[in-house]
Amino acid sequence: MTSAQANERLARVELRVLALLLALGLASFLGMAWLLEGRAPGEAAAPRAAVDAMPRAPADATPSAEDLGRPVATPQGARTAQDSPAAPEPPQILASRDGDPLRDPIARAGEREHYGRFARMAAGDPSVLEDQASRVLFGAGPDSEKVALLRALADCGSTETGAWLETAVRRLPDEPSAAAESVPAFALQRLAGRAAADPLARASLERIAFGPGRPAPERLRRQAATALAEHASPGELARMAADLAGEESALLRSSVLEALSRNPDPDAVAAAFGSLPQREDSLHPTQEP
């Protein structure tokens, strides 16, 4: 018997055992779900974390001043865990989540297909998509569906885009894999991309990096702070200097200090932070070696 044949035989045996265990596990799980929650087998469960029902009205898109304050800008009417200690109602789960994902055409679809569906949904009226945002973002669908939704919101010109991006960063689980960055990381990248021209996006980044309430994972706070440092206005820089003074993460401080060297207003940076750190160009050349 060759090693390949041996491996194949071993694989078959292990697969049979796995299949049996999976079948037993699935039957137990469905039975428990039926008993505990009164749901039919296959019916989707609510997300573990209690989630606010997200409203649809747009966040204020026209800040009164260049530097926005600190209030959390989730979509209007949305409540954070802090301001809503009572358990909110879970969002309605999309019917398409029911059933076997291998047989479910939506579950099998990738980001492109999800995006196409959302784009069609939003054609001519972004509010139709905004209506779906909470259910999709906090539903049991694949990450690709949530990413597609965020993209579609932006592309259809929804004024809620920034708020939903921030919500995704702050409230969805940061679970990257080798195949994909997490939804929060994606949302943060999109916010960072808007930071140069959009004070609302910078306000979101500021809240993610330094704001009160449910803290984002440190790596996301770090990246938010870095993106903010690159584009922060004088007022934002001054607040950032104060925030950094109390910041516990040395790496976050290092990331911000480095990023400040790219801020287009060095005088404002100097006013807020004093002299800038030197770049480590000897180890990190500006041209790829």
């Binding site: 090693s3 390949a4 491996n7 194949e8 071993l10 694989a11 078959r12 292990e14 697969l15 796995l18 999976l22 994902p101 291998l102 579950a107 099998r108 679809a109 990738g110 980001e111 492109r112 694949p142 990450d143 690709s144 990413v147 993209r151 990257p176 894999s177 080798a178 195949a179 994909a180 960055e181 997490s182 939804v183 990381a185 994606f186 990248q189 140069a196 790596r219 770090r222 990246q223 870095t226 790496l251 290092s254 990331s255 480095e258 990023a259 060297s261 790219r262 287009p264 750190p277 770049r279 480590e280 160009d281 180890l283 990190h284 050349p285 500006t286 041209q287 790829e288 070696p289």
Partner: protein, 973 residues
């Protein structure tokens, strides 16, 4: 006599059956004839009979994945009906097209099986206008001729004037080449004909399509002038089988017959806000949609009334509204021809003074498609095809619509100022050639589109040819490299004219990478050859270099000591100087929390709190044989990271094993001065104190010596524990006999000073890869996962990466072909995304990048690469959601596009287990299949079909010959 008649009848019957398209019937008839008592001679076969309409009943149109559709081949035999001289056509003539309709096996189709049959006439070829708009009754109105061909006669005669273009509005007119309502010009006109047969594959509908066109003379013209500005193969180099409109149209000449001057998209005000100025004129539309993300209009750049640029225009997506009011957005399309697409064309005057956002817009414009020859030139280089006969028209016929298609920041009603010159507003095309000649000046079309790296007066070229790879120094002399033997390479350096170039032309060093074996590349060396080490006449023969870092030589004693390094000689030339460091102090200390084995590139310690990036540390201080020094690249809590072969800035990993509890102490190292503090004998590797280093102080050396084939594989590029032997990484395992490869390349540093701007370029040589044998291997087995690196160039023209510092597939494969190689890790760029488990190995990365938008996780597949910012932001995250693989149909299912037509490596992943030291099976199928099939459902399937011990069962169903084998499942329709 009876038998002879019967034979003749049978023979006739056989002929008829063959012509009916049924080889089965033919075989049956032959069998019957023989069974009927074939005796005597066979007699004459007789002349071939005419093809008849398809025999054997309707063609099976219900196919399964893997089945091959019959093929629809339509060929125009003759055009008749012309009443002019020599059969040329006049106004009022009704055109009859006689054509054949056959399957791929040569048998005839019954035209009644065709679901679609359309024909149209446009012309003249030098400026196509619609003449006889498309008719769709060919399949029902064509008459079968006695010879099996069909004839179709247009109901309408050739009109006196041109028909309006598609979706015509007053937006485009005469100045755009539109001749609606004007009398037909004498010239060559073209009839297009296409038929389609519908079928299903596993329930999904497809079309099997045949296209053809034929030119004819009209109005006294005497010479056929076929339109050939591009060849079909120019398109198919990337698109494989160009097709559009649901697969109905394949031939580029057929495209021209509808995409005529002045033709527009649907321009429905309710769709995409209306698209009132979008033309689908071929020469405009094709340029624009291939330039998508580089178009000034898309980027928000236009021209002010005074001729200056306006970088604050409203960006306008390039959208075409098509069938069913579908919106086709090409705003993200990037033409893959390089170097244009990656290495920007020179800056325009004033670039440096632009704000950052405007620079970004300019940079996008400067990397737009300018490789005119990719579409208008010889499509197969040294192959049998010639360049399109009229390919040079793109240089000799500048016009507002064709040039303005890409340069759409030009407002023809305004002047246009650039680089100190101003083009006045242009009311028509008449003056274009006055300034924009074919070649010979800055405004000449050929010169303006030539990439500086292709200009021999600027970049004379650099070519490195490896002539030999040999054993060096003490060896067994058998010609194969063995562990412990040094490797010498013999190579030449020439320019594109073949003249030898001085090593210094390539700057400080050449790059060299050595990996193997070819069936599962693992990295052995990633280094550089200092050019000062190259001397004398060419060819150069040098040993491969190896950088030895922080080697502990011993402790200084009272008196002037002599230390000897482990490797000799020291190269000690510029770019590879020996440095001696002396430990002068110790401070914080901790212990290893877990055992650490060489060549591991991190240690876990009891407490990392007292340590920081760039600290020097000693492990097992004072323990004979174990004391070693390293430099920390990153402190991640209680894990202290060193480095990997990806950089020479830090020692990669441990040189010795250390037990849990071993001490790790921060030390201060002081660099000594050669000639003052010590004397070096490079040949013997001796370092002699000239000034006392201090009794008890450890002495270290960092130096370049000759590379020695190791006994085991070192760390992978950007190595982390995330990817190990399950991914084919053989770090720490014994060297495997086989074919190994070395690749060398270099770059000229070039600066183009133009219009007051300095443009830095790298004139990089293509990497030259040479294979050699290691151990007991006897046959060179080249890397074979693709048939040739040239396959990349079919689309990319010339592969460049990493800021232009790597060129050609052979530069890619020895790093990115290696198992276990990862993207930039957080120990290099601490603020980077972790991308845990992401590999830059081509078998995964290249599939994913080319899947791009087709990935289930398109926008979130991320690889971290080089970044020009300082630590910890020295990274760039790359995503590929905008990549659309251009092969048609069905994109990345066209495996042969990259692997090569005859290559079968993609049919089944080859085994990559280490022959003697493999601990867990290599995930051979997952590495490739999961790269494209990345949805959670697909990943769950792979997980389920992989045992807990890591054995994959994929071959049970997917190996060649099995029900769902790879070629079958990847067959595209």
């Amino acid at each position: 006599m009876v038998s002879t008649l019967a034979r003749h009848r049978d023979a006739a019957g056989i002929r008829r059956r063959i012509s009916y398209g049924s080889w089965t019937g033919a075989a049956l008839a032959l069998a019957l004839a023989c069974a009927g008592g074939c005796t005597g001679d066979e007699g004459d076969t007789g002349p071939p009979g005419p093809p008849g309409p398809g025999g054997g009943g309707p063609t099976n149109s219900v196919l399964e994945q893997g089945d091959t559709p019959p093929g629809v081949n339509v060929a125009l035999v003759a055009l008749s009906g012309g009443s002019g001289a020599g059969g040329s056509f006049k106004v009022g003539d009704k055109i009859t097209a006689r054509f054949t309709l056959t399957k791929d096996d040569g048998t005839a189709w019954d035209i009644a099986e065709m679901a679609t049959g359309r024909a149209l006439v446009s012309g003249p070829t030098f400026n196509y206008q619609r003449v006889l708009p498309e008719v769709s009754n060919v399949a029902t109105a064509a008459v079968r001729n006695a010879d099996g061909s069909y004839s179709y006669t247009f109901a309408a005669g050739i009109p006196a004037v041109y028909a309006p273009p598609l979706n015509d509005t007053p937006t485009f007119g005469v100045e755009d080449g539109e001749l609606t309502g004007q009398p037909l010009l004498a010239g060559t006109y073209t009839l297009g004909l296409y038929l389609a047969w519908n079928y299903t594959v596993d329930g999904q509908g497809f079309r099997d399509v045949g296209n053809t066109t034929a030119d004819f003379l009209f109005g006294g013209a005497t010479t056929i002038e076929h339109r050939e500005v591009v060849l079909q193969q120019n398109c198919n180099n990337c698109h494989q089988d160009l097709q559009a409109h649901g697969g109905l149209r394949h031939e580029v000449t057929l495209c021209l017959l509808c995409h005529t001057a002045g033709a527009e998209d649907r321009n429905d005000p309710s769709v995409a806000g209306g698209t009132p100025d979008v033309t689908i004129d071929f020469k405009v539309m094709i340029h624009k949609l291939h330039a998508g993300r580089h178009l000034p209009s898309v980027l928000g750049v236009d021209t002010n009334p005074d001729g200056s640029r306006n970088y604050g225009a409203t960006p306008k997506p390039y959208q075409i509204v098509g069938f069913g009011n579908s919106i086709h957005d090409y705003s993200e399309v990037s033409f893959p021809a390089w170097p244009w697409g990656l290495i920007a064309m020179p800056r325009d005057q004033g670039y440096t003074a632009l704000p950052a956002a405007a620079k970004a817009q300019e940079n996008a414009i400067r990397t737009g498609p300018a490789d005119c020859a990719a579409c208008h030139g010889d499509p197969d280089g040294p192959g049998p095809l010639a360049a399109p006969a009229q390919g040079d028209l793109h240089k000799s016929q500048p016009a507002r619509n064709s040039c303005g298609s890409c340069h759409d920041d030009v407002n023809w009603g305004f002047p246009y100022t650039a680089n100190g010159q101003t083009m006045p507003s242009q009311a028509n095309n008449s003056n274009c050639v006055l300034c924009h000649e074919q070649s010979g000046g800055a405004l000449a079309i050929e010169d303006a589109h030539r990439h500086p790296l292709h200009d021999p007066t600027f970049n004379p070229g650099l070519n490195i040819d490896v002539l030999a790879v040999d054993e060096a120094g003490a060896s067994n002399g058998n010609g194969n490299l063995d562990p412990g033997e040094k490797v010498s390479v013999t190579f030449t350096m020439t320019d594109d004219a073949g003249a030898a170039v001085l090593p210094s032309v390539a700057g400080a060093s050449l790059s060299v990478v050595l990996s193997g074996p070819t069936h599962n590349y693992n990295l052995l060396l990633n280094g550089s050859i200092p050019t000062p080490a190259l001397s004398g006449a060419q060819p150069f023969t040098v040993p491969l270099p190896s950088l030895v870092q922080l080697e502990f030589l011993g402790d200084s004693t009272v008196g002037l000591d002599v230390f000897t390094t482990a490797f000799t000689p020291h190269w000690d030339v510029a770019g590879a100087l020996t440095s001696v460091l002396v430990r002068t102090a110790s401070s914080s200390s901790t212990t290893l929390a877990a055992p650490a084995s060489a060549p591991q590139n991190y240690v876990d310690v009891a407490s990392g709190a007292a340590f920081a990036r760039d600290d020097y540390v000693v492990i097992d201080d004072g323990v004979a044989g174990s004391e070693e020094y390293l430099r920390l690249q990153f402190v991640d809590g209680n894990r202290l990271w060193f480095s990997s072969p990806a950089t020479s800035s830090y020692k990669a990993g441990l040189g010795a094993d250390h037990p849990a509890g071993a001490t790790l102490t921060k030390v201060t190292l002081v660099t000594k001065v050669a000639g003052t503090d010590y004397a070096l004998d490079p040949a013997l590797g001796t370092i002699t104190e000239l000034i006392e280093f201090g009794a008890g102080n450890a002495v270290l050396a960092t130096y370049t010596s000759d590379f020695v084939m190791p006994a085991s594989y070192p760390l992978a590029l950007n190595d982390t524990p995330d990817l190990g032997e399950a991914w084919g990484e053989w770090t720490g395992k014994a060297l495997v006999d086989g074919t190994y490869s070395v690749s060398i390349w270099g770059s000229r540093a070039l600066t183009l000073n133009l219009y007051g701007e300095a443009n830095a370029y790298r004139g990089t040589s293509e990497a030259h890869l040479a294979d050699f044998l290691v151990g007991a291997a006897t046959t060179v087995e080249p890397y074979s996962l693709i048939s040739s690196g040239q396959n990349c160039n079919d689309c990319h023209q010339d592969v460049y990466f990493h800021g232009g510092g790597r060129r050609g597939f052979d530069a890619c494969v020895l790093c990115h072909g290696t198992a276990g190689s990862e993207d930039r890790p957080q120990y290099v760029a601490a603020n980077a995304p972790p991308t845990t488990g992401a590999t830059i190995n081509l078998r995964t990365m290249l599939h994913k990048i080319h899947m791009g938008a087709e990935l289930a996780n398109a926008s979130t597949y991320t690889l971290v690469g080089f970044g020009s910012a300082g630590w910890p932001n020295n990274f760039t995250p790359h995503t590929y959601e905008h990549v659309e693989f251009p092969a048609l149909p069905q994109g990345t299912k066209n495996c042969q596009s990259c692997h090569g037509a005859g290559n079968t490596a993609w049919h089944e992943p080859a085994e990559r287990d280490h022959p003697t030291m493999q601990g867990v099976p290599v995930l051979e199928w997952r590495a490739v299949c999961n790269s494209c099939h990345d949805s959670s459902a697909a990943t769950a399937h792979i997980d389920l079909m992989t045992t807990t011990s890591g054995v994959e069962s994929c071959s049970v169903c997917h190996q060649p010959g099995k029900e769902w084998n790879v070629p079958k499942m990847h067959k595209s329709y």
